[in-house]
């Protein structure tokens, strides 16, 4: 089939390979507009001196200002610096919040001697709840699903009293639970209300 004619069989236009920043994910030329410009530059300088010069040499800097007025350029630089500070503060706060957030494991009595176990708060540690539910279901050979609690937050509900085993799995960092710190686990028991309403 091939090589007898000069005509290529495909006219397809090959894709352009854009180099994206490893820090902010933007194409390199847009790092200056992101919220991590200083880190972006440091990382590029380490990895590729030539590319760094292409974007950040005196010459390149003078050229890129384009039709922007000096005041506007100053404003932009201030804006970028402020964005960076803000992003760092946000990351700090997010980390603090993460470290302080709790994973609640609750043993709930549904009927006499019939229990379910709810696990709440795993998402703060970047756990995919659906995957975690599946992992619990397989491990305990029982039903487990992601549901919303009365507060509207997602939690995993497992059939049966498996709270002690869940704690153990988190301590051992099994599967998708590997990044959940065991110090953040709280165990709670919810008794069936007498009399009911």
């Amino acid at each position: 089939m091939a090589s007898t004619t000069e005509q290529p069989t495909s006219q397809a236009i090959p894709p352009i390979k854009v180099r994206y920043c490893e820090v902010c994910t933007f194409p390199l030329e847009y790092c200056e507009f992101g919220s991590s410009f200083t880190k972006c530059k440091e990382s590029l300088l380490e990895e590729d001196q030539d590319l760094y010069d292409k974007f950040y040499s005196e010459e390149a800097l003078a050229k890129k200002i384009g039709t922007l007025s000096v005041e506007d350029q100053t404003k932009l630089e201030k804006d970028t610096a402020a964005k960076e500070v803000k992003a760092e503060k946000k990351a700090d706060a997010a980390l603090k919040k993460k470290l302080a957030s709790q994973v609640t494991i609750k043993r709930i009595e549904r009927n006499k001697r019939k229990f379910v176990t709810s696990v709440h708060g795993l998402e703060a540690f970047d756990v995919d709840l659906k995957k975690a539910a599946k992992q619990f279901a397989q491990k305990f050979a029982t039903g487990a699903s992601v549901t919303k609690n009365p507060q509207g937050q997602d939690e995993i509900v497992i059939q049966g009293d498996v709270s002690a085993d869940v704690v153990e799995m988190i301590e051992d960092g099994v599967g998708v639970l590997k990044n959940v710190p065991k110090d953040n686990i709280v165990e709670v028991e919810e008794k069936k209300k007498k009399g009911g309403d």
Binding site: V18, P27, L68, D72
Partner: protein
Amino acid sequence: MFKKFSPSTDVSGQTSVKTSVQRSIRSNILSQWKIDQDTLEQFWPKKESLILVKCRDHISIYALHGEPLFFQHFDGPFYPTLRLVHKYPFILPMVRIDRGAIRFLLAGAHMMCPGLTSIGGYLPPPENEIKSGTPVAIFAEGKEHAVGLGITKMDTEEMRRVNRNIGIETVTYLGDDLWAVRSL
């Protein structure tokens, strides 16, 4: 369109797209975008089956092997993702904003006419006028790659004439919540 969009809460389901539907999407894309079959075949081979990811507010994202390729709002035009436009920058008509407008776009603002008609900006010449309601790739002064995608809210000649108000409604841009979605 993708402000405060999070796959964990805003995706309602994933289904694979029937062959007949794929055929009609393919022909729509070939007529809506400036692309030929062979080039389209490169990132969406005929034998591969698309996944439709249904999202809130009637947004449909179409993905292949988890990678979002294009999306649609209600039954409006098909938009490529910005990453796809980076690979194939010619598939949508292009406009350019001046450097001053970049940071507003990256904050999610719609693009006002003056940012497009100034010296740093670009609109096509009258004979290639872009009609109102057309998806466009938004490039930026001094930059090689597109910074966002939008839809024209008036004809480009009208943008020149009126030179105020919103010329292009921003649909997606670098760093928005769709950009953050690498795989679905």
